[in-house]
């Protein structure tokens, strides 16, 4: 049996999905977290139920990517029971979508989520009455507390009933529906879709467009607008009947601080700055401890064990890789994700997007694109996936800019190499360089990218106190990816590297690139190998550097300038392989190739410039 969770963005669908299936998915407090339709199994009384988590949508007849994909899924895949999830504290707007879902005439169970918040706000909802109106069971839930979430699956199995509410449309629309149904034998919903030019039946669309034109001429409004108005009116009526606002409690108005230019913008800057600072400080503190432990308890014993040179080389590479992986990436990546999760769960991201809207226009995008950019600070891959909400032109620009955003793996390089061995101020200067390059690139792209620019329409997420448990879970979700995908890759390639190094192949390879690396970037020859490994995963540039240099204490083998140039080049140059892959999937090979070439040239160019400038002036 297949059950679909559907609803407005940010109502808690993914949280319910996670609680029911146990599959860890992205849950965060801004609209548009879930991008792909995802399904998972739930076992209940020996029956397997396939649960589907949809991206949040505002309507089933919209034209945006996520709306189109959900509509197609509903029409083409067989969903047995649909579970609309509504936000109790914003019922009226949520009912609008519910009325549309009801038009699909599927069996369903309605979940009203976030009743904890509506109760706090003094809103009383008559769930039984709603159940009467809509014709199916209504469950009042609060997913964050786990309240009644367990009832959903049993209810879909035993108590799913067909939703049977019909929105009364304006007479002309009703007349058009009647004639379409009569002539083409389609359903009421198909007729409504066809009037809005949606659907695949050419004949139906043809007659519908004639009718639609007439109606639009008569009313001077688009059919979609008329239908939307009728639905909103019906939703308002139902909301009115089933809700009573008991006492109007005033919430503390934090927005008067957060969304004003002052002090909102200083707060935004301080938040981002202190996030990076915290990552640097906590990260390097933990790192020192872990590296020290490895040195004392693993590396020293190995060196004094007197193994054969081959095995010593292999084991040494393995230990160094683990040391670099756990000891250096772990503290930075984990701390970073905890902080980012706190920021996301608090609902602050939408405020930041609002404040940045105008500034983002200068780089050819709008405020909503700030969210992928900030996500990019974590990892470029999900960030690039979430640009689907932007227009075509903005997506092209965003592909370039997001790949330039220093992700957590690159933070590892900046923090682990520059902050530790050169200085924290220098580490920040890399962010500054990248930031300036992003702005310049954006400026230029905004001028030359074809296509139309649209503005932002973004629902503000409610401000909430992040729940520590949930924050840790999310940070862990990202860490898991690191531990189970990156670490094995790292270990395998370190053994590989060890063998190659033992055989002298690496030396031969490096000899080819050495002259260039020496002359232009001023880097030791093994740096070229690390940079190549950096394409696999960014932090591996750093880790292999440690392996090839033969020590995690890079300060002892390279000068500050060399370390700085190495960090700048590996931060800028060519996105990692997964980013290239996701760029290819989302945007096509042309953009993927263009982005890779551009960043490659940028990295080499800036690295050369810094090196030559420093050499000639210092």
């Amino acid at each position: 049996m297949k059950v679909g969770l559907i609803g407005n963005p940010n109502v808690g669908k993914s949280l319910i999905f996670t609680q029911l299936t146990g599959i860890g998915v992205e849950i965060s407090n801004f609209p548009g977290t879930t991008i792909d339709i995802l399904s998972g199994g739930v076992c209940y009384q020996r029956e397997i139920v396939e649960l589907v988590d949809f991206p949040g949508i505002y309507s089933l007849d919209g034209t945006s990517d996520e709306e189109t994909s959900v509509r197609r899924y509903l029409q083409e895949e067989n969903i047995d029971v649909i579970v609309p999830v509504l936000n109790a504290s914003n019922l009226e707007r949520n009912l609008y979508l519910l009325l549309q879902i009801a038009e699909y005439q599927m069996s369903g169970v309605v979940v009203i989520n976030m009743v904890d918040e509506s109760e706090k706000a003094g809103i009383e909802i008559d769930f039984a009455h709603l159940s009467d109106i809509i014709g199916c069971t209504v469950i009042a839930a609060a997913a964050s507390e786990g309240r009644n979430v367990g009832d959903i699956i049993p209810c879909t199995l035993s108590d799913a009933r067909k939703m049977n509410y019909e929105v009364p449309y304006m007479q002309h629309i009703e007349a058009a529906i009647r004639s379409l149904v009569k002539i083409h034998g389609c359903s009421r919903r198909e007729a409504l879709d066809a009037l809005q030019n949606l659907g695949t039946d050419a004949d139906l669309l043809d007659s519908a467009s004639t009718l639609a034109e007439e109606i639009e001429e008569e009313h001077q409004m688009s059919v979609h607008q008329i239908i939307a108005t009728n639905r909103h009116n019906a939703a308002a009526k139902i909301a009115d009947e089933i809700t009573v606002i008991k006492d109007h409690k005033k919430k503390p108005d934090l927005d008067s601080l957060l969304t004003r230019a002052f002090p909102g913008i200083p707060i935004l800057i301080i938040l981002l700055f202190s996030t990076l600072m915290t990552v640097f400080f906590i990260g390097s503190f933990l790192e020192e401890i872990i590296v020290e432990l490895f040195n004392i308890y693993l590396i020293a014993p190995l060196m004094s064990a007197g193994l054969s040179p081959f095995w010593e080389q292999i084991l040494f590479s393995l230990i160094l890789a683990t040391q670099a992986g756990l000891g250096i990436a772990f503290p930075f990546v984990f701390v970073f994700y905890i902080l980012i999760s706190i920021l996301e769960d608090s609902g602050y991201m939408t405020r930041a997007a609002f404040l940045a809207d105008r500034a983002m226009h200068h780089v050819g995008m709008h405020g909503q694109a700030l969210i992928p950019m900030v996500l990019g600070l974590g990892c470029n891959v999900p960030a690039i996936m979430s640009i689907r909400q932007l227009s075509k032109r903005e997506r092209i620009i965003a592909s370039f800019l997001i790949t330039m955003v220093p992700c957590s793996a690159r933070t590892v390089i900046i923090a682990g190499i520059v902050a530790v061995f050169v200085g924290v101020a220098w580490a920040f200067s890399i962010y500054l360089i990248v930031f300036i390059l992003i702005i310049i690139t954006g400026f230029v792209l905004a001028k030359i990218t074809p296509g139309e620019q649209f503005g932002m329409i973004l629902e503000m997420a409610p401000l909430r106190k992040p729940i520590p448990m949930q924050t840790m879970k999310r940070a862990w979700l990202h860490m898991k990816e690191f531990l189970f995908i990156a670490m094995p890759l790292l270990l395998v390639s370190s053994v590989f590297l060890g063998v190659l190094q033992y055989a002298g192949t690496i030396q031969a390879f490096q000899d080819i690139f050495a002259p260039f690396m020496e002359a232009v970037l001023g880097l030791p020859s093994y740096a070229s190998t690390s940079l190549i490994f950096g394409i696999l995963r960014k932090e591996m540039a750093f880790e292999t550097l440690a392996i090839l240099a033969g020590t995690a204490d890079l300060g002892s083998v390279m000068t500050s300038l060399q370390l700085y140039v190495f960090a700048v080049v590996s931060v800028l140059f060519v996105p990692c392989i997964s980013t290239i892959a996701v760029l290819y999937r989302e945007m096509g090979w042309k953009i993927a190739l263009m982005v890779s070439t551009y960043t490659l040239m940028l990295g080499m160019g800036i690295g050369t410039a810094i090196n030559l400038l420093a050499v000639s002036f210092l």
Binding site: Y58, S59, D61, G62, T63, S64, S89, N90, E92, R93, Y96, Q220, M221, H224, Q225, A228, T229, H232, A236, D255, T259, R260, A261, T350, A353, F354, L355, D357, R358, H361, H366, G367, F454, G455, M456, I457, L458, E459, M460
Partner: protein
């Protein structure tokens, strides 16, 4: 005296900017409303008693604040109805005016304001609109209002992507409150209980009118 006649007097005084009641004006009135001179005099007395007009010194006459309000309201109804009859139904001016004269007393304020909104859309009621609805037609974009103001959506211009706005509840007749406006024009508005951030260029395509 019926309310309709009562209202007609006030409307007439306002429309024709009557400042004094000479003998011939009274005659004209008796003819217009089809009542004899004495009744007209009585009627005017009655108007004075209800506090809608003040008479004197001499033949001078003036609408009181209350009278002015009633008169304006009726006059607006008359014009909106007349506009509808001539422009939308294609009736001739005279019949339209006569019909409007009868219906203006029965139509509720809500009916008239809805009708007016309907007429206010562009391409409708072209020249007549400016004459009849006056400032009502002068829709302004959402971006021309300030923080904490509540306005009523009249019309959404622009491309299909605006469908998102409709779905979020920006539909004609809906009230929206501006929560925040930055100096660069970005807005946060409350629509149907949720806060939505919109770019200046989107705000510019939403035409609204103030709520009286």
């Amino acid at each position: 005296m019926q309310t309709s006649v009562h209202e007609d007097y006030l409307e007439w005084i306002l429309e024709n900017r009557i400042e004094s009641l000479e003998e011939d004006t009274l005659e004209f009135l008796s003819h217009k409303f089809n009542r004899n001179m004495d009744t007209v005099r009585n009627d005017l007395k009655h108007l004075e008693n209800t506090g809608d007009i003040t008479v004197g010194p001499g033949t001078a006459v003036r609408l009181t604040e209350q009278g002015q309000k009633t008169a304006k309201c009726i006059l607006k109804k008359h014009k909106v109805l007349e506009c509808f009859f001539t422009e939308m139904l294609g009736m001739d001016q005279n019949t339209a005016s006569q019909q409007a004269c009868r219906m203006e007393h029965e139509a509720s304020d809500d009916t008239i304001s809805r009708l007016n909104q309907y007429l206010s859309r562009p391409r409708r009621c072209k020249q007549a609109c400016n004459r009849v609805c006056g400032p009502q037609c002068d829709l302004k974009s959402l971006s021309s209002y300030n923080e904490k103001e509540t306005v009523c959506v009249a019309l959404i211009r622009g491309p299909r992507r605006m469908g998102r706005l409709n779905d979020m509840g920006v539909i004609p007749g809906e009230e929206i409150t501006i929560q925040r406006k930055l100096s660069n024009g970005s807005l946060v508005v409350t629509i149907k209980g949720s806060d939505i951030a919109i770019s200046p260029e989107i705000a510019a395509s939403v035409l609204v009118e103030p709520i009286e």
